[in-house]
Symmetry: C2
Subunit: 441 residues, 2 copies
């Protein structure tokens, strides 16, 4: 089974394409139309064109590599078969009503599995929101608005399409794109261990955010994570509510502790929420790996700094003593007015704030620099100092921002461009630093 037609097709067929707004086959076309290569809306009763693309009667009339199947569950086996006959290499099946529904659905799923095998077709789904790869302008999904998702460095692999969609829109809402979102759904023949190695080799993907509800192929998934050199963050859900989970992606119920142990042993970070999943992935994607777990905390406001210190302390993160040399440098800048141990508190934003970060960042006892500063327009954020520091020292710097959102946006972007990951709330910045400590050498 070749995955190329799923990840990097030359042409796309949308089977069941429709002109009617709100229909699955119309929503899928609205996303597929962004693709740079040929896009074929397939519908025997289609007349004229949709989004500028002429309808074709059959997938057999196309040279499509990838088919988006926008037909109901019971019609799917025949459609996959037609795809196979037409030489299509990969198919995305959006419809539900398969193994997760039981009964006839389980039989239907077995049919498409068998047809997939016969014709060597990579099937994503069924029961999925599809996949998107913004840097290839490939939006293979019915989700309205996905055509505007930007490229980013975190890829999302979600057992639940809905979770993948939620994660994608959360990144988008916060100003980030994605290196790709893959909703696996019922995983008829495309599973975690198929997708993860491809993403591990993908130069656009710098971290993998994994959502898992439960799988009997857990060992294969773990093995894939273990083999990956790209950082992986895992969110395991579906720990309770057995019946509900079963009705979703037909996932078996398995003990959370087993997943936690196995994924942690394989080098993944376990996240407890959507926000943690994305924040951990983002900081790992953007930052160099920390050489050790020691955090140097620099804050321009003591109160939020204390909250962050609490949070890190609860997670067992260490604040090392600063070297004599650093303390002397800090004394020269701060004149002893504020707290100059670790955390270092400047009391207020000041023109020398960047120098304070620089001093802590160059301290041999510090592996990870965590900063908190409320933005003041007359000072801005210390871009130049951060540029110099990150050029000289290969340590992760996490910057926690606050202030008037529009005013700080440009400086925030400049910091991201330097590889300084930025976060919004004290606990989110602290969490990101704790992830770097956990994954240090």
């Amino acid at each position: 089974m070749s995955l190329t037609d799923l990840f990097d097709p030359d042409s796309i067929a949308v089977i069941g394409a429709s002109k009617t707004s709100g229909k699955l086959g119309n929503d899928a076309m609205a996303n597929a139309k962004e693709f740079d290569g040929p896009v074929y809306p397939v519908n025997p009763s289609g007349e004229g064109s949709v989004y500028g693309y002429e309808f074709v009667a059959s997938v057999d009339d196309t040279d499509a590599d990838l088919a988006l199947c926008c037909v109901p569950g019971p019609a799917t086996p025949d459609v996959i078969k037609e795809c196979g006959e037409a030489g299509v290499g990969a198919a995305v099946v959006f419809a539900g009503g398969f193994a997760e529904a039981g009964g006839r659905g389980t039989e239907l799923q077995a049919e498409i599995q068998s047809i997939g095998e016969d014709y060597d077709i990579t099937v994503l789904g069924p029961n999925t929101a599809g996949h998107i790869i913004p840097h290839r302008n490939l939006f293979s999904s019915f989700v309205p608005g996905f055509d505007e998702i930007e490229s980013g460095d975190v890829a999302i692999v979600a057992q639940s399409g809905g979770v993948g969609v939620t994660a994608t829109f959360q990144l988008d809402r916060e100003g980030y794109g994605t290196a790709g979102m893959y909703g696996l759904g019922n995983r008829v023949n495309t599973d975690f261990d198929d997708v993860i190695p491809v993403l591990d080799d993908d130069p656009e993907t710098d971290a993998i955010a994994l959502h898992i509800e439960g799988t009997t192929e857990i060992d294969d998934a773990i093995e894939a994570v273990d083999q990956a050199s790209t950082p992986v963050v895992t969110l395991k859900s579906g720990n309770k509510m057995e019946e509900f989970v079963q009705a979703h992606t037909a996932a078996p119920i398995q003990e959370y502790a087993r997943y936690e142990q196995a994924f942690t042993d394989a080098g993944a970070v376990m996240a407890d929420s959507m926000t943690e999943l994305l924040d951990a992935s983002r900081v790992l994607a953007q930052s160099p790996q920390a050489e050790g777990p020691n955090v140097g905390l620099v804050t321009a406001q003591a109160g939020p700094g204390i909250m962050m210190a609490d949070y890190l302390d609860e997670r067992g993160v260490n604040f090392p003593e600063l070297t004599e040399e650093t303390r002397e440098r800090l004394d020269d800048i701060l004149l002893g007015f504020t707290y100059d141990r670790n955390p270092v508190d400047t009391g207020r934003p000041m023109p020398e704030f960047g120098d304070v970060i620089d001093a802590v960042g160059r301290d041999d006892n510090v592996d990870i620099v965590l900063v908190y500063e409320i933005f003041e327009h007359s000072l801005g954020y210390p871009i130049e100092e951060l540029e110099r520091l990150t050029a000289d020292v290969d340590k992760p710097v996490v910057f926690t921002v606050a202030g008037p959102n529009k005013a700080l946006a440009d400086d925030r972007q400049r910091m991201e461009d330097l590889g300084v990951a930025t976060f919004d709330s004290p606990e989110r910045g602290a969490y990101a630093a704790s992830v770097l400590a956990e994954t240090s050498r």
Copy 2:
């Protein structure tokens, strides 16, 4: 000591006002200029005007009720004295270098305390970012950008000014304003138990978000919370890093468990992070009190719904069986295709999604309705159905949104206007529902 001059002054003096951008006395003027009454920039060496206001040489030349003191710590006692002589009733002291610095600072603080007593002046601070009351156009702070903060229904009372500022900007970033932010700092004579009763009586304040680092007057603070009928959420920080905390607001170190027990007994919700503090406050401000702790969860996407169910289950929240009547109504709508127990899963957004919420919301077993739906433009959110439901049934409804941010903004605002609190991430919606369960009758 009258608090009126602090909360509702007729005129303001900015002592140490300056024309020089970036100076404290300029930043304070930039905020104070929004005030509807007279604003007096006071500076003996000031010439001409600043932000359109003529300098005056002395506070004695004004009829100010409230003075913003933008002078260094050592100059503060004299300034407070002049304020007293001039009949000023309240003063905000931004400068640090008082009890938190020890030594001469402790003496300075004792001096302003004694002068405040002699002249019956309400002093906010020292060592504070000040206070803002947007619905009175009162921005008594040096923090740049505060003049653009909007009115809202959550008031923030923070021992640390920096935490108060962070909380204010976090609400602003997410599209909310504040009913007021009060940074207490060193609390020379304005403490938690002074501010909380005023806010409890304030019709604009529907919830109070409290940040506390530690206080020897803990019993007074607890008593004020206990007496308040307005919901209170508390974030206690400064549990570790004794020396650093002491250097901040001169707060004593006390055991977290003691605070948790006492505040919980007094009816407050304990939050663990900035985001929880604000989300809990927001949902309590916007929602009717729940009659009981039972959550009915309606989701248009099973995966995020499962994550929310996990989260609620971990927090011990109960999902009741739905009544026979509700299940029949749901069967008619959903035709048995998806999971129709509790959680109720519609599998995808659908035109009848509002009816599904309605059915669950009217179920006698359900006290709190929690919804998750990814926005689709062709359907929108079910505003009309929510309007009918909230008009007929006095139960809290929490709506968790996802999707293209700009596209859903209008519908989100419409829901907020109906008293339906909205949240962004699955765990945040679930957390809000858990807070309503915890505070139910």
